[in-house]
């Protein structure tokens, strides 16, 4: 189903596997906390989870490389590729964090200290976002970490501020134990 009616968020499995198995990365490393090497791009409603680029979470290593397929049309305040997370909080760093919560099962939570806040934008047709590494060139160029579906509402701004505020329980969480 297209994201305009139904979508799914997801971590990119080959990126997780590469991090866990020590796959060598060229010109960078897989690290959720390095905001200076991470971009946030915005996704249109025509994207389809699992089957269309760039949302093939369970696809091949090549499928984890960020592409501008199904990216929103660039507009005022937004160029193809999206925003650098280290300057996306009113030109300051959103400061990504990971924490462990719970006492069994344990949950690994990823979130930001500050919301994405970008002033003076005119963009439309926004259904979700992708967080990806902008520095790594191989084995997958610009490997994607996580895609977040915002719901079946097309968000838009007109000469206004675009923002994403993480939930109190984080942007994404992985339950790692039974």
């Amino acid at each position: 189903m297209a994201w305009s009616s139904s979508g799914q968020s997801g971590f990119y499995l080959q990126t997780i596997i590469a991090a866990l198995t020590g796959v060598s990365q060229t010109t960078g490393s897989i690290n959720l906390l390095t905001s200076s090497a991470q971009n946030l791009s915005l996704v249109t409603g025509t994207a389809v989870s699992y089957t269309t680029a760039p949302l093939q979470y369970g696809g091949s290593v090549a499928n984890t490389a960020w592409v501008n397929t199904n990216e929103i049309t660039p507009g005022t305040g937004y160029v193809s590729g999206g925003w650098l997370l280290s300057t996306a909080y009113s030109t300051a760093d959103v400061i990504p964090t990971t924490t462990i919560t719970g006492g069994g099962p344990y949950v690994l939570t990823y979130t930001w200290t500050h919301p994405v806040t970008v002033a003076t934008t005119t963009i439309s047709g926004i259904y979700g976002c992708i967080i990806y590494n902008n520095a790594i060139t191989a084995p997958a160029a610009k490997p994607m970490y996580l895609a977040l579906y915002f719901g079946s509402t097309a968000y838009a701004t007109v000469a206004g501020t675009f923002g994403i505020t993480p939930s109190g329980s984080g942007l994404a969480a992985i339950t790692l134990t039974a």
């Binding site: 919301p115 838009a156 923002g163 505020t165 993480p166």
Partner: protein, 75 residues
């Protein structure tokens, strides 16, 4: 030089009709529609008439639900 208060200045300008048609305004507040984000500027003219001017600027703040990925192992 004779100093005058703002009230005196306004009274003097009013007396010659300079502000009689609301040529200057005091901005009261800027408001955002809670759902659409549409902005409006409320102003008051010299007769005390409230004027609401809207423009098409629109903000958005998204609060995505936490994405939960489970890697639970049940033995």
């Amino acid at each position: 030089m004779v100093k005058e208060t703002s009230e005196e200045f306004r009274a003097r300008m009013d007396s010659i009709g300079f502000l009689a048609h609301g040529r200057t305004r005091d901005i009261v507040e800027t408001i955002n529609h809670p759902e659409t984000g549409e902005r409006a500027k409320k102003t008051t003219d010299q007769q005390g008439t409230e004027i609401t001017e809207t423009d098409n600027r629109q903000d958005v703040m998204i609060h995505p639900e936490t994405y939960h990925a489970d890697l639970e192992i049940g033995l």
